[in-house]
Symmetry: C2
Subunit: 348 residues, 2 copies
Amino acid sequence: MAAKNREGGSQPTINDVARIAGVSKKTVSRVINGSPLLNEDTRKRVQEVIRELGYVPNPQARALALRRNFLIGLVHDNPNAQTVLKVQQGILEAIRDTEFELVVRPVDRGMVNMLDDIRQFLERQRLFGVVLMPPISENDSLAELCRQIGCRYVRMGSAELDDPTNMVASNDREAVRDAIRYLIGEGHRRIGFVSGPHGFRSALERRLGFEEALEEADLKLPRSMVADGNYTFESGLLAAERLLDLSPRPTAIFASNDEMATGVLQAARRRGMDVPRDLSIVGFDDTPIASHIWPPLTTVRWPIATMARSAALKLTVSVTEGEQEVDEPSMFLSTLIRRGSVAAPPHN
Amino acid sequence: MAAKNREGGSQPTINDVARIAGVSKKTVSRVINGSPLLNEDTRKRVQEVIRELGYVPNPQARALALRRNFLIGLVHDNPNAQTVLKVQQGILEAIRDTEFELVVRPVDRGMVNMLDDIRQFLERQRLFGVVLMPPISENDSLAELCRQIGCRYVRMGSAELDDPTNMVASNDREAVRDAIRYLIGEGHRRIGFVSGPHGFRSALERRLGFEEALEEADLKLPRSMVADGNYTFESGLLAAERLLDLSPRPTAIFASNDEMATGVLQAARRRGMDVPRDLSIVGFDDTPIASHIWPPLTTVRWPIATMARSAALKLTVSVTEGEQEVDEPSMFLSTLIRRGSVAAPPHN
DNA sequence: TTGTAGGCGTTATCAC
DNA sequence: GTGATAACGCCTACAA
């Protein structure tokens, strides 16, 4: 009963191919995995049979034998829907037409045993690799965990968190510095800043960019010009209300992401202020909403999808492209997009 | 060499449990799968060992033996990021703390061999089940395909697309009818409609709701009051420009989703119109943007996340809850959320 | 260059 | 109730 003559609707197995091609399973296996030591004729014959049968290796069996699944995990605790989706799109683009699939795994950063949870996930599913999204990607223990259990990983972040093979980053600090320089260039001297949440590296980097630009220009601003936010619309709105209550109030506000910038815009509107006449606003991300609100938002375009695509390629390229190791870049530049929400300050 | 004394960091297997508990593999297997015919003492003893060892069954081996993976697929071709992400969240909520994982699979509806592509995906990964998102969920051949290859499925849609076990739906038509009734009740007589793309059931249902409400109220509107859109911001903007060029122009516009409604708002603004004084706007979805723009958008809340959660439960509940088959509902009601974008029409 | 034997960790069959 | 034994479909090691 070794060689059954597979009937019925089930898919062909390596045995079917071997039997029909008149070779052993192992030879078929070699063809599949592109082993170099193979008679050219044999290879062709086997490949022909594979094509005829429409044979495709069974991923479950492979996963069991290799102790490794062809699944890419996306681990994240990012609150921003747009960002998460862009990252997914980037990864999916990278693994399109490959044998890889994407498994999504949101985690709860508040949970005490979050790391255990992730470990379980990685170990049980035996993922081929994981893409770690910010802010959880900034957690060094998590990276260490991946290394320990032998799971490839790429961390996405707003700074160089790891060595280039395990990381893709954007230059948030510089990008924000440029944005603030631009505001200063337009004549603004009182610039408010709405920060991201404590503990986010992106929040820190953007804040540092802000401060660097001020220093460059010898602008000293009171601490009150910095208001805490947490990347949500509401927090942006509240922060702006605090900022706009100041006297003198800022003539421009930089919000550390677009969602908060939208909140700032809302706050201004509620006071009957006109943007950009009475207040200039700059955001960060260039999410769709940035160009869909009025006035369209001047913002920093963050190439998050590209970064994600590159992250996935770093994970998988050695498999799909042989060992040629096309060097994926690990640094991606954010750029300022000028739209309608910035103007020269009112001269009062 | 049958029973190795597992050392090193690898995870315990069913063999370890069996050896330590002094039973056979099969007995352990029975405990895991909750077989009814088992001595209570044996069960307890085995469970104790499982707990001590922290044993967890290997999903790859299971998948191979069962010819079925514990993966839930999400197949979609939906262009709206918010919607896709909400659906993911709903599914993830449903499978949280279960052995299931979520695999995301966007497809290209334009592709000629899309169905083959999906078939390959389902057959190769041997998914436990799939959630089909609109608009591709409306494709009957796809459902037929799932049935053929024995893959459970649940279709999400804006109407009853299938029998209740294989479907979750919302009552878009009624919901839009209510929304239009509301506009009429506020005094509007010239109501513009921005439709969704041709071929989307949701677009059709929303359109029918619009027409039913008009008929009820004996309102006859010229065809020109209906403008085609495709669920994007830009299409909403263009459609609104056409509508606002009419003479007399509409005093209210219903857009078939929030993104287009935002485009309508933008178009109005560009003409210096005040919303809602000069134009009332109603959207559909209640995405975050609806409450983040000014004025906040009156819209229909579409319980898409809840629907997705329910869809995933329909797929998995028989496994996680034994056979009790908690009846998940298959119809979910959309409701009108009144915010600031609607007022009585200007009396000119 | 190719084949044989055995293992990956689970479930199914069918005796006892 | 429980346990050998054989799948499941692939891969690795070693032999030929």
